[in-house]
Amino acid sequence: MLLFLQSLLNGLLLGGIYAAYSAGFSLIFGVMGVVNLFHGEMVMLGAFITYFGFTLFGIDPFLTLPFSIVFLFIFGYMVQRLIINRVVESPPMISYILTFGIHLIVAYSALWAWTADFRTVTTSYSGVNANVYGVIIPYARLATFGIALCVVMGLYLFLYRSEMGRAIRATAQDKEIARLKGVNIHHIYAVTFGIGAAITGMAGSLISTYFIIFPQMGLPYTILAFCIVVLGGMGYVPGALWGGLILGVIQSVTATYLNAGLSGALTFILLFVMLIVRPAGIAGKGIIE
């Protein structure tokens, strides 16, 4: 029983990590319809910001979050404003090719600048955990989980309660009408991308304390984010949380009771089944086109 509880908890915490780095992917897809193939590179950039902040300046990983958020917001804003905006109204294939190109450019530039070395952020509290009635809770993952919840809720409130959020949703629903109403959609797109990038970079900073950092770490994150967002419903931001938690728990329980190899296979089986049976995601609120 304890084993099951521990496995379930591991799954939920893992789900929190998944949700943290997938929410931005969902937001960007939901508003612009862009499947961002350099999503994982934004995780990588966030992780490197924390790594350098920690190793060069001795800044605690959690205190590097604002740097990641600001840097990635500017990065996301500029990339959208200067590059993706030019193709955003073209067929989706163009944006796949473009974002894949950016993936290669960012990953290989990072490789050139920082070499292929594997790095870790090892703090005094790395791997430290609480033992609650025999259930082990690693603090860093718990913090990520908490922050992921806040991010998803915050993003939801922002989209539904603020003026900018209203403009973003209006643009997502019908960009022509939004344009007629005086919304500068290119600016809205760039801000949305910036926000998506900022929360993704923040997730990168968070995971750097317990995952390995290297320039080419990005692609698996992009792939998993895609799976999670499909599970939760494409473009429906709270769906990233549901998708992340479900996937986290399934993977964890599979790895504990069956074997770890199967957990990867199950992820993709689940993805196929979802696309066929419930393409709008678990909550049924995703975009189907």
């Binding site: 893992l14 870790t120 955990n129 290297f214 790895a255 074997n259 770890a260 957990s263």
Partner: protein, 405 residues
């Protein structure tokens, strides 16, 4: 007149090429990026170390003359098929005289098949899967032992531990080398009377190890044997700490001997045991590198870090090739007949090097190599097994995470 000028220029060109060819052009494809990028860069450093040493003396000494060495390397991006393609390119397009092995069994497996096809002897110091030696190849040589044998020291060390470990779990990433290392663990665990409670191979792309390790923790084994490369080894330690799992001993087939392991994990790397094929305190020496200790110290002077055993094995491998060339008296540009002779000579060779004896068996594996186990003690790799070569006694059992400072 124009014709004469053209003819003159062409002749000069040909002459120029002939002059430029008066050196040994040696090529290799190796992962410099991707999963094995870090590990592959070590091999590159080792070859460069050898080249600089040889060129400082004017080059390889053949028939009273010295021929400098030029190394041409290409990045296979940790993709095995790419290695085969690049090896073919080195042979057919760049027309190199000789080929060396890269890093990792999958890459070398693919590359060596191309070398065999073109009758290029390939000496590798960074691949050891048994399958490499089961193909009936004549042109493939390895200074490392077979993967299943490489981890022997990590299991045999049980003989000198007290209380003697009785149970173990084997985990490994599902790629050629590490899967075989796991087979080796199993074989030697049986011989040492260690009961294996669980055996599992997992995908190398697995992101989270915590849940997998939970069931291992539940079984409470004395030893956790891990089939690993650097990244898997690092992730395993992080995960063990996160779920608060400390067996009495943890061993890795590869990873902890790469300097990055200690550099990144710091004190969490203490107590870790790893397979090795070489240690600087072993009593070996040769004419080029000097003693094992000198190799170690000079390497540090050049790169600011000590060499991993794979680097020692790679340097020894290319040195073995050099000695064979000098003995045969073949000069560049090499012809196919020269390379056939070189292959035959390598099979006959019985050479003492700083790395130990290099003596290739009929299948190309180094037959003369004792497995070593090292342990990280106070931030340093210490040779702890076999007892005759040990610098210190192994720390055992491993201290629980919560009791460490």
């Amino acid at each position: 007149m124009f014709g004469i000028v053209v003819a003159f220029v062409l002749t000069a060109g040909v002459h120029g090429t002939a002059l430029a060819q008066a050196k040994f052009r040696i090529g290799y494809a190796v992962p410099l990026t991707g999963t094995f990028g870090r590990d592959g860069n070590l091999v590159k450093d080792a070859y460069a170390f050898w080249k600089d040493l040889v060129n400082a003396k004017g080059g390889i000494y053949v028939k009273g003359k010295r021929f400098p060495v030029e190394l041409i390397f290409l990045d296979d991006k940790s993709i095995a098929a790419e290695n085969a393609k690049l090896t073919e390119r080195l042979i057919t397009k760049d027309r190199v005289d000789l080929i060396l092995g890269g890093f990792g069994s999958d890459s070398v497996f693919a590359g060596s098949a191309v070398a065999e096809k073109y009758k290029y002897p390939m000496v590798s110091g960074a691949a050891s899967s048994n399958k490499l030696f089961e193909r009936g190849f004549k042109y493939y040589f390895s200074t490392l032992g077979k993967a299943t044998e490489e981890v022997r020291g990590c299991v045999d060390i049980a003989q000198i531990l007290s209380p003697r470990p009785k149970t173990g779990v084997i985990l490994g990433s599902d790629v050629l080398f590490t899967a075989l290392a796991c087979e080796g663990y199993k074989k030697y665990a049986e011989q040492n009377g260690i009961e294996i409670l669980h055996f599992e191979l997992f995908p190398i792309t697995l992101q989270d190890y915590n849940s997998m390790l939970l069931k291992v923790k539940q079984k409470n084994p004395d030893v956790l044997f891990v089939g690993s490369h650097l990244m898997v080894a690092m992730k395993m330690i992080q995960a063990m700490k996160e779920i608060d799992f400390t067996p009495k001993m943890v061993t890795f087939s590869y990873g902890p001997t790469v300097p990055d392991f200690i550099k990144n994990l710091g004190r969490d790397a203490e107590y870790v045991v790893a397979a090795s094929e070489w240690a600087p305190n072993l009593p070996y020496k040769d004419a080029l590198f000097g003693t094992a200790r000198e190799f170690n110290d000079n390497y540090f002077k050049k790169y600011g870090r000590y060499p991993d055993y794979v680097e020692a094995a790679s340097a020894a491998g290319v040195y073995a090739m050099q000695v064979a060339i000098e003995k045969l008296g073949i000069v560049p540009p090499l012809k196919q007949a020269d390379r056939v002779k070189l292959m035959e000579e390598l099979h006959k060779q019985d050479l003492m090097t700083f790395y130990g004896v290099v003596k290739f068996g009929p299948d190309g594996a180094n037959e003369a190599h004792p497995p070593v186990a090292v342990q990280i003690q106070n931030g340093k790799l210490i040779n702890v097994f076999p007892k005759e070569a040990a610098e210190a006694t192994p720390w055992y059992p491993m201290k629980p995470w919560k009791e460490r400072q």
